[in-house]
Symmetry: C2
Subunit: 236 residues, 2 copies
């Protein structure tokens, strides 16, 4: 299926992966290697698990500011609801208001913030919720701790990829311009590091895919794990 | 049934309430009035609600340090589990570690801490959990906000009463001695206020009751609201 074309209902897009283009390599260097690993990994061949519709899980969206995490969460949530799951979205900005007011953007404060999100997610997962977190979560170590706390089987790490060039071009909130000029400090991808996942469970790419395609990939992974039925098709 | 005697299985102890003695009045003054109001309130006569075993709720234990909140939570939790409910205990001390590290005991910090507990409890309640919170929660305003956030029907405020005299006598952790000597500042009941609930849903009294009696009272309230079956009797 050509990149950029929305999948028709019933299309199989599980095996689809973002194309590794020259510009990807320019931006992310050898990191793009994960894309190839993911596409051809034996892990992708593992058989579909039995349905366990009462088992909670967390879709952990990680990626740069503006890459499309919240947009994906907004579309994925109703898709899960339509499949009979009870959904809770923990959006990074909202969580900061409720759980992390006063925390800044130093590595330590970011780690504490991510720790709180994963603590709450783990409680909700215990009680059968379908949790979607949308937070930059730039550090691999903090994401690994979230995976451990929530449980690897229940943790679906989704790398929401977008090149810095494209994000700077979009710059919907004007934040990248301010980060580049130095007006905003500690801005991930500009003045603070972003450690891209080396072996995410799903890779989506807001530069190369529609949001519907990204959501369909995540749903395919959830179907494979038995967390949603494969035969229910809602909007995506 | 005489105070201090454990109830036999099948005993009805719903209507039992702590006796208001002279020493109570000495310690709490006119506040003890709520006990009488609770015992004879028409609210206690309202009919048992229909069973709604998938509906989440929060048992909000409030009271001075050492009054017995955690002990009640430890016994109530398994009783609810035995009745088929999925339980989550949010203990004040543990929550401070996970969600509120760095917060102190000023009124503002206490309010933030209680706000976080109620935020997490409200999420869990949405997903059908039986939540038990055990935190001093000294300010009426913060508890009222928790009730509003969680939903009044799903919020069971339990005042865990114990006189300061008795707490100072027990002083299991030696905290009251340190608070009275001034070594510990901001200690609720000694150097910081405790605003006893004026119309709690349940009053238990660790000075006058066994923990089993206290738990049985809470279970009776939950049965009345339809959150647990009335005909299941476990340890209590």
């Amino acid at each position: 299926m050509p990149v950029g074309k929305s999948p028709a209902r019933g299309d199989t897009i599980v095996a689809e992966c973002p194309q590794t283009t020259g510009s990807d390599l320019d931006t992310f260097g050898s990191r793009s290697g994960y894309v190839l690993r993911e596409a051809f990994s034996p892990l992708n061949q593992r058989p579909r698990k039995e349905l366990q519709l009462n088992q909670g899980f967390t879709v952990w969206l990680t990626g740069l500011s503006g890459a499309g995490k919240s947009t994906i969460a907004e579309l994925l949530g109703p898709e899960l609801t339509a499949r009979g799951r009870k959904v809770e979205v923990l959006d990074g900005d909202e969580v900061r208001t409720h759980l992390s007011k006063g925390l800044g953007f130093s590595r330590e404060d970011r780690d504490i913030n991510i720790g709180r999100i994963s603590f709450v997610a783990s409680l909700l997962v215990k009680h059968g919720a379908s949790v979607i977190t949308a937070a930059i979560s730039p550090y691999a170590q903090a994401r690994a701790e979230a995976r451990q706390r929530i449980g690897s089987d229940q943790f679906v790490e989704v790398y929401v990829r977008c090149s810095l060039n494209e994000l700077t071009r979009r710059d919907v909130k004007g934040l990248y311009a301010k980060a580049i000029s130095g007006e905003i400090k500690h801005f991930t991808g500009v003045s603070d590091p972003y450690e891209a996942p080396e072996s995410p469970d799903v890779v989506v790419d807001s530069e190369l895919e529609t949001v519907e395609q990204s959501v369909a990939k995540i749903l395919a992974e959830l179907e494979k794990r038995g967390y949603v039925r494969a035969d229910v098709k809602a909007g995506v």
